[in-house]
Amino acid sequence: MKGLLKFITCGSVDDGKSTLIGHMLYDAKLLFADQRQALEMESKVGSRDGKIDYSLLLDGLMAEREQGITIDVAYRYFSTERRSFIVADTPGHEEYTRNMAVGASFAELAVILLDVTKGILPQTRRHALICTLMGIRHFVFVVNKMDIIRYDFKKYDKIEREIRKLAIDLNLDNFKIIPVSATEGDNLTIKSDKMSWYTGGTLLNHLETVDVSEAVSDVDFVLPIQRVCRPNQNFRGFQGEIADGKISVGDEVTVLPNHENAVVKSIFVTDEKVSNAEKGQPVTICLDREIDVSRGSVITKDTELKVSGLITASILWMDDENLVAGKNFFFKLGTKKTTATVMRIKYKLNIYTGEQLAASTLSKNELACCDIALADKIVCDNFKRQKELGSFILIDRVTHMTAACGTVKHSLRRSDNIFWQKTDISREIRAKSLGQNPKTIWFTGLSGAGKSTLANAVEKVLNLQGKHTMLLDGDNVRMGLNSNLGFEEQDRIENIRRIAEVSKLMNDAGLIVLTSFISPYRADRERARQIVGTDDFVEIYVNTPLEVCEQRDVKGLYKKARNGKIPNFTGISSPYEEPKNPEITVDTSKSSLEESVEYIINELKKFLI
């Protein structure tokens, strides 16, 4: 049995989670004297008529104390003679689903609280569902407030049946149901004498004895590499924590994603040289030959792990801003970091009923199934089979917030055909045959700033220099390729994405691409840069002041916008986000067209060599 049990407590606002844990610690004499004193003192000034308020032990942050609710995850530590425990106490309200998910991802067991006077609430189902999605396999349903119904068996029995039904619905294999009173202490650490009909043990006893260990695989060995340890020329060790299986010196291993083989020469568990190691141990492994191993590689033995660039996954969206398909993120799975695009939201889940719903966007705390395309091929596995290689996070590229967490359902094979088809004539060969260095030159700025005029003039000069170019602007893109797109947010993102993808293809074909679009949002341009490739993207900011653009008003658009005839017009009723670090900046109000073109051509030289 494991010496350490990590568990989560979840329940709705008034179910009494904090009271339950607080009372258990108090009864099990697991508090220090000063904590006990402080609790008794604080209880006196609290609102419960001087009775001990056990929840005060757990509600930590000041803001929360003032509001009387638990907002974030609080971790508590205690140990009995039999076991050490870490409790993640999490908020119950739907608004804090993501905080609950944080606690659940950490835990091996979930204690789900129900109020016996209320029975199973929609929240109960939601809590249990999130726990299973985050990988919890052991559940304890604690039916609280038995004192209020005077320990009545019939009322309890009805709720027990509902719980059993829920457990079947959610496919829970390992669960216990315990009737308690958190305020009175029944069945927490001491078996209650008021419920003789209950034949099971106390909550603490169950937590002390439940076996949550997962079997160590006898065959598979999985070691995601965190870093390469290279103290000197003669030592090259690969460091990481074994995610599954066992390894011995002399074993033949395969390193993914490159499928190269080698034999284990030596193993260290921390600073101790050993002959074998297993799941959970931090190791440094040396191989018998020089092969390509770096952070994100996975050393394996006898596995059928997939290497893929396209996955289907369950995700929990956690960001304040909605998810729209087509959005690009930093992606971290195991020790591998790359970028990824959510290609498609297949469906979202009604977390109260489990029903699958069609969706084009996701808002905070929603669960969905998505297809995600990755910039690099990664080693991954189904989450239920392999937690470490089956779980990931999406990080917003601009705010850097952890925007979503997810679990891999399966990888898609056709990604090999869609994304990574290897052709014999490479991009380099095509570029060479045209004798140039293909780039995407991205003009951005307000309407009327002079983007198209400049792009046209620059393209003419490049042609005179013998370059092969292509100009993409609103006229040739909106009419054809993007004729099905409007001006709503998803369409705007998709518009820019397609332009970027086309630019990239044309770059692959060897062409120098010039694009002329207002592209007012930094995030969109950042995505375009990622799609095209950072090194191939040259952003030109046509920084002409709004007053000048409005004065010019070549197409009469500003006038219409001012009269309210065009909604969301950039610069008037919708923002333009200036580039932070454009490669080139020009202001057409300060210099003539010829001067601006000459300046741009001169600046472009270093990119086009």
């Binding site: 971790y75 530590y77 066992k246 959970g280 990931f392």
Partner: protein, 303 residues
């Protein structure tokens, strides 16, 4: 080793090592804050194990208020030599010039000589990630802090806007000027620390062991007379006595209360700790100031 049953200490050790390796692999300029206390000693020990046979791939930083026990400073310098790590020592020179001290300046002292000094040092060296030895069982606001705790460009912590932290997938992405405080010992308890020190035979500052030391009783705390600066500031009714005392935490000696004890072996200390009647923070004077004082100081940039 692999044939033995893995204990909860093995699990905690593995988690801490995993965290340290992630930081070194992903963060540009990491540093380890070294307070010379027992938690720092455990953290240093874990780091040496995590990167073995490599030397520590980051420096250690000690914020010296100039009021530390002199035995701590001797210990620090000896460790740097023996373990071969790079040691940076930083003091708030401006504060020293102004004569800021723990007797006259109360909580301002902590702010200027610790919080401000730490911020100055992190800025000076452009560190993007700093390991700290904080544990969640120490204090209520720490109980809610992430292992990777994000700090904005002003180095402040926003408890309402913490990044979700899932599984072992730590988000180390930051913008210029921002930084991350990393707590690899988050899930250790005081008991775990002592058991691990015993198991791994980790050397700690002798002040943790009971010995006869010159002390005074002040406001319910036992304060050691570590140098003459204390002698000059004795109150009329205070008398220096030699008592068998030891310290459960170490910091600035005028702010660190000792406890009367005869425990002078690790085994005795562990035994005393397991049956402890007071949690360790009661012997830190600053924590008594106001409820929530730790949270306030953390928001302002204290570790």
């Amino acid at each position: 080793m692999s044939n033995k049953e893995r204990t909860h200490l093995d699990e905690l050790e593995a988690e801490s090592i995993y965290i340290m390796r992630e930081v070194v692999a992903e963060c540009e300029r990491p540093v380890m804050l070294y307070s010379i206390g027992k938690d720092s000693s455990v953290m240093l020990h874990l780091a040496l194990k995590a990167f073995y046979p490599e030397k520590l791939p980051f420096p250690l930083l000690h914020i010296d208020t100039t009021w530390k026990f002199h035995e701590m400073i001797e210990f620090r310098d000896r460790m740097a030599k023996e373990k071969g790590f790079e040691l940076l020592v930083y003091s708030n020179e401006e504060g020293l010039k102004q004569g800021i001290n723990p007797f006259d300046h109360g909580s301002a002292y902590t702010d200027i000589m610790k919080t401000q000094a730490l911020k100055q040092a992190l800025t000076k060296y452009n560190f993007t990630a700093a390991f700290g030895g904080g544990r969640r069982d120490e204090e209520k606001s720490r109980a809610k802090e992430r292992i990777f705790s994000f700090r904005n460009a002003q180095q402040a912590w926003d408890p309402k806007n913490q990044r979700p932290e899932m599984w072992k997938l730590y988000n180390t992405q930051i913008n210029k000027g921002e930084s991350i405080r990393v707590f690899p010992l988050s899930n250790w308890t005081e008991k775990d620390i002592w058991q691990y020190i015993a198991r791994e035979n980790i050397e700690i500052v002798p002040l943790y062991f009971a010995k006869e030391r010159p002390v005074v009783y002040r406001d319910g705390n036992i304060i050691m007379i570590d140098d003459d600066r204390m002698k000059e500031r004795l109150k009329p009714d205070e008398k220096i006595e030699n008592k068998m005392v030891r310290f459960r935490t170490l910091g600035c000696y005028p702010l660190t209360g000792g406890i009367e004890s005869t425990a002078n072996t690790l085994a005795e200390i562990v035994k005393e700790t397991l049956g402890a009647v007071n949690s360790e923070r009661t012997s830190r004077v600053i924590d008594h100031e106001a409820a929530g004082s730790m949270e306030r100081r953390k928001r302002e940039g204290y570790f």
